[in-house]
Subunit: 355 residues, 2 copies
DNA sequence: AACGTTCGCGCGAACGTTCGCATTCAGTAT
DNA sequence: ATACTGAATGCGAACGTTCGCGCGAACGTT
């Protein structure tokens, strides 16, 4: 029963009356054959249900048509809506390019983690890697660059290192948020930001400053509050902002992430303010929750699907051309999702609302 | 620069002064060598930084040491906290067994999806599959069983098909929830259930009935409400239950999933009831949200990490033994996570609470 | 008629490993 | 001495494919 011998390319060739190398070349599109022979071969392939053996192709061609991917796991008490979408989009893009994704576990120990990358590459299991959660001076980036291992990263690293990557243009995102608020008539717009050490944070904040200045408004120092990006800080910072004298009290605020925005909304509600009218609020990241909150939260959605597509395509392009990794970093625009926290009565599915 | 020629096993052998086949056997643990030779070989391996080429091993040994995994994506507006944990746990278990996971995209078209599975197996890219989201008479199960392709499933299928699988004992979970409520003194306990067509639902519900009867309480028909497992239904069903005459009005209810439990909590709060005292509520699945709600929700957590481990180990065991897939289905107990919706003042991180 | 050129296909040789026996050699029993 | 044993290593042969080159025939061109 298990004696189902594997169908090899030679059997196909014999049945089609050609040499097996010819079959190989036809299937790899490396040669133009007489229509008759071509048909005979395809028919033989179909009849025998021939499938080329992966390991044999890989051994001979010295390519695995496989990319490695590993990610830092999310703590179980908070969901990662990114991962699912990103993986699916990468998998689909990879399939279209006839590539596959090999996933391997994350290790907290950097040496161990690095060893996983190196081993996969040196054993020829993968042709390259997709990196995510890239940190400043990420050791993976340093070592992979050093060994000439092809990779594409989701997220930029520090200025010193140059490598191909895809990232979301956070500055543009905040610019969009501010312009949205300006269009609604707001003039006194504040920002809830991270500490200055954060590159992503400074990048996003710069978009706020830029948009304000472009509108001819010099953002006051009091309007920029910095702290850790959690709900509690957002609530407290919003309280301080609302306590400012009326002539400089913000009527709107942009937060660099959703939790801070949620905190700000809570403060406003507690003070009996109408969110979206007395105080408009925007977040960043578009937490799945943002949709279900009361009021629902205007936020900036990262184009995850497109990011996945680009990561894979950039990678396969690199492998195709055999070009050295070009340090081009593509920036993608986030999408402003307008909801009730800036325009009341916009939408929401109140029947399924959480609390 | 790219002329870094691959180090082969023959070079290692030459340097160690043995035949290359001996090196192979030593590295695969198939032979006992004289300590001196063994040391020489290991040293040569280290000095040359030799790594066996994956495709060559795989070609010769006819094994890929790789498992395929595909999953149905979650709609982007709701997060899937399972996926991340399950993947990581499977990846770690696989690594321990020297296996890898090859992920491939989901296709809505069943034929296309099936073709992905078959192709991966027939090209020798994978030795077997891990299946999740198994449906009734799942076509994947039918075809894989028919072709003798090894696989292990997360979740049982219909009674007609027998195959190796891991599942969570939902009945036991509800039994635990009910026993928890009984221990708190509740006697009139209702259940929010799914329509009868659901196998998972009937399984969970049976645990409710069993626990009640074991406690000498015959559950009244009015106490079992069936509907789609959403927040809205939970809210409505809870309202109906709370409108029952005092002598049969429930003081506690178990929901077969978290959204229904959340709906019930909302109804209770709107009526000014103290949740956890006037009405105790339990959910199922332990949504990440359950932790952050006000009041936080008592729920049943699926042992995802252990499920991943078991899936992989059962799979590798099967491949090791070459045994035919034994249709044993392991059931794992969920964990009851007690929070404020049954025992007020238990915990919660109010400072980070959403709304 | 002799000469390139292109087309269609074939041939030998890898690719780097593991498999299954065969062989050697020392030690022990006959 | 001879034959037997087991431990330590070697040897040839796959595994199924792609690579690179070559060769004959058909085709137009001088």
């Amino acid at each position: 029963m298990d004696s189902a011998r594997r169908v090899t390319i030679k059997e196909v060739a014999r049945r089609a009356g050609v040499s097996y190398q010819t079959v190989s070349k036809l299937l790899n599109g490396q040669v133009q054959l007489a229509p008759a022979t071509e048909a005979r071969i395809f028919e033989a392939v179909r009849e025998l249900n021939y499938r080329p053996l992966y390991s044999a192709r890989s051994l001979r061609s010295q390519r695995s048509r496989t990319l490695g991917y590993s990610w830092t796991p999310t703590p179980p008490d908070q969901a990662n809506q990114i991962l699912d979408t990103l993986l699916q989009s990468m998998l689909h893009a990879a399939e279209a390019e006839d590539y596959h994704l090999l996933c391997f576990p994350h290790h907290a120990d950097a040496t161990r983690q690095l060893d996983s990358y190196i081993r996969l590459y040196e054993t020829g299991r993968v042709d390259g890697f997709i990196l995510s959660s890239v940190e400043y001076d990420d050791p993976r980036v340093i070592h992979l660059l050093g060994r000439g291992v092809p990779f594409v990263a989701f997220g930029r690293s520090s200025a010193g290192l140059e490598f191909p990557c895809i990232d979301v243009d956070g500055g543009l995102g905040l610019q969009m948020a501010v312009q949205h608020l300006l269009a609604l008539g707001h003039r006194r717009i504040a920002a809830l930001a991270w500490p200055e050490a954060s590159r992503v944070g400074e990048n996003r904040l710069s978009g706020y400053l830029r948009a304000m200045r472009e509108a001819g408004i010099e953002p006051r120092p009091e309007w920029v509050r910095r702290g850790e990006g959690r709900v509690a800080f957002g609530a407290q910072a919003a309280a301080e902002l609302l306590d400012l004298p009326a002539e400089i009290r913000p009527s709107a605020l942009v937060a660099l992430n959703d939790p801070m925005a949620i905190g700000a909304v809570r403060t406003a509600l507690r003070r009996g303010l109408r969110v979206g009218q007395d105080l408009a609020v925007t977040g960043f990241d578009d937490t799945p929750l943002a949709h279900y909150l009361q009021p629902s939260l205007t936020s900036l959605r990262q184009p995850i699907w497109e990011i996945g597509q680009r990561l894979i395509c950039q990678m396969t392009d690199m492998l195709k051309g055999g070009r050295p990794p070009e340090p081009a970093c593509s920036l993608l625009a986030p999408e402003l999702v307008v909801r009730e926290s800036t325009v009341p009565g916009t939408q929401g599915r109140p029947e399924d609302l959480i609390l």
